[in-house]
């Protein structure tokens, strides 16, 4: 079954860490990526800061174009920072892999995927 691991946390905390601590925090990600690599196809994405986001909000009239707003969808303290997509046989397995990237300031949401498509390469 396909699962998404959604990473939430405060923006900028990671960037504030000294480089060696950043590297330490990344170790879990490298380990997870290496483990997923062995199992087959997976995808992962780190999102840019929400200041670079725009949000399309629907208008009440379905014939009208949505309204373009600057900023993220929701003004929340914890922000959607990144995502992994991979196959796991069971929820337990998904949880145990997700634990590899747990750190004090991110919350990790595991959610099954209903539908997926496309092929993702590394950004240029």
């Amino acid at each position: 079954m396909d699962y998404a691991i959604l990473i939430y946390g405060t923006e900028g905390t990671f960037e504030r860490l000294p480089p060696e601590k950043q590297e330490e925090a990344m170790e879990g990600h490298y380990a997870l990526q290496a483990a997923l690599e062995k199992r087959g196809a997976y995808g992962t994405v780190k999102l840019m800061p929400t200041t670079s986001a725009v949000t399309l909000r629907p208008t009440s009239d379905i014939h009208e174009k949505p309204t373009l707003m600057d900023g993220p969808f929701a003004e929340t303290k914890e922000r959607f920072l990144g995502i992994y997509i991979a196959q796991f046989d069971t929820l337990d397995e998904a949880i145990s892999f997700t634990e590899m990237i747990s750190s004090p300031y991110v919350s990790l949401e595991i959610r099954p995927i209903a539908w997926a498509g496309g092929v993702l390469g590394a950004p240029e």
Partner: protein, 422 residues
């Protein structure tokens, strides 16, 4: 998985906490400053809240809303300090750390109030009685929490001197009557403009360092970027703030290519573009495109657009000089300064040739008399027109105007080729 992550080690956890405090600091100080109407007291209160957090959070876990927690504890700490100062003996007991600290504050923390608090705190640092450098020093000390030694290092003065300057500057600020009511939209945009200028100067202070100092000053650029990002988060629709952040990111993306192995500055055209930070450029581009959707409304957006032309060219020969000339003309219409004109002339040289460029420079002669880039640009145009003795003279003038070592070498080379040709 049996795999224990490195972060569970105490030291690392501390680093995360420190990073988190640094992140929260501007917002927390801003709110506490409104509460106490006193920046110094707010700083003290925040510091003691952080100490309490270090003692408490590892045991209780991270609160749902760390900012609200720190504000609540900080507020109580501040009240304690006031009481101590007033030598009041009838104290009510301090609340225990186990209390639901965030609950008290969470509902009061609306984003609208907070954004004006943060803006106000930054604005307080921009007191017009302070020199530009002192404004930056106070902002760094207060808002980012940089140490006096770090700030002194960044401005290349002795820590003792910086300490005195900061004390004096903070006294000036404390005496100023800053209105604490919610600003109207005119006042808000006035403050945003003032603060943007301060952030611009902060970034430039870090960026325009001559060789050797660059390493010390990079953190200034990073702080400028962080504070701009914070403001943009709070004021997401402000085009000029978006332009400012975009501009900073375009510039900062080149930081690794700016220095050669000897620590000398490398001119833009000679930089190894593979060293440019691509994700940062992509973010800058996204911000620029976002803000340009509405059409550029201010000079910072145009400056970001100018920076993008350089950043998006795979190599110097691909630079779109026609677009650059157009953008500089546009910028000059907004801000008719001789330096913008000079830059426009450099772009014109590439599109219309040295003769047209030289003609643009002539009216600037008096204003830019002591600006070495003016003479260097003029010399280059004259050289291209094969007026070698005039070029030689202009290069020599540039050389006399205190260029950096790297520039000196470049100028001496040029002087040499002028002599060979004349």
């Amino acid at each position: 998985m049996g795999r224990r992550r490195a972060w569970s080690a105490g030291v690392t956890r501390h680093a995360w906490l420190e990073a988190r405090f640094a992140d929260i600091r501007p917002q927390a100080l801003a709110a506490l400053t409104r509460q106490f109407r006193n920046v110094d007291l707010a700083e003290e209160a925040f510091a003691s809240a952080c100490i309490r957090a270090i003692q408490t959070w590892p045991k209780t876990g991270l609160p749902n809303d760390p900012l609200a927690w720190l504000l609540s504890v900080g507020r109580n700490a501040g009240i304690d300090i006031i009481r101590k100062n007033q030598r009041l003996s009838a104290l009510s007991p301090a609340p225990s750390p186990d209390e639901d600290m965030e609950g008290i504050y969470a509902e009061q923390l609306d984003n609208d109030g907070l954004r004006d608090d943060v803006l106000r705190l930054l604005f307080i640092c921009c007191h017009p009685a302070l020199s530009a450098q002192d404004q930056l020093a106070v902002a760094l000390k207060t808002i980012t929490g940089m140490s006096v030694a770090q700030i002194a290092g960044a401005f290349v003065v002795k820590p003792k001197t910086m300490e005195q300057r900061l004390t004096r500057a903070k006294r000036t600020i404390a005496d100023a009557a800053i209105p604490f009511e919610t600003p109207d939209s005119t006042e808000r945009s006035r403050r945003l403009k003032t603060v943007s200028l301060m952030l611009y100067l902060l970034f430039n202070e870090g960026w325009s360092a001559s060789s050797g100092e660059v390493q010390i000053k990079e953190p200034l650029c990073e702080e400028a970027i962080r504070l701009t990002r914070l403001l943009l988060n709070l004021f997401p629709g402000m085009g000029e703030l978006m332009g400012l952040l975009s501009l900073f990111l375009f510039q900062h993306s080149r930081r690794k290519a700016r220095l050669d192995v000897n620590g000398n500055l490398v001119p833009l055209d000679d930089q190894d573009r593979k060293l440019w930070d691509r994700p940062m450029i992509a973010e800058a581009k996204a911000l620029l495109e976002k803000t340009l959707r509405r059409g550029p409304s201010g000079p910072l957006q145009v400056q970001a657009a100018i920076a993008s032309i350089h950043s998006l060219a795979p190599n110097p020969n691909d630079t779109d000089w026609r677009e650059l000339a157009r953008l500089y003309a546009f910028l000059y219409a907004m801000e008719p300064t001789p330096i913008i004109r000079l830059n426009q002339a450099v772009a014109i040289e590439k599109t219309k040739g040295p003769e047209a460029a030289l003609a643009m420079l002539e009216p600037l002669a008096t204003e830019l008399e002591s600006y070495r880039w003016y003479h260097a640009a003029r010399a280059a145009f004259l050289f291209d027109l094969e007026r070698f003795s005039e070029a030689l003279h202009a290069y020599e003038t540039a050389l006399s105007l205190h260029p950096t070592e790297a520039e000196q070498r470049l100028l001496l080379e040029k002087i040499d080729s002028c002599k060979k040709n004349s």
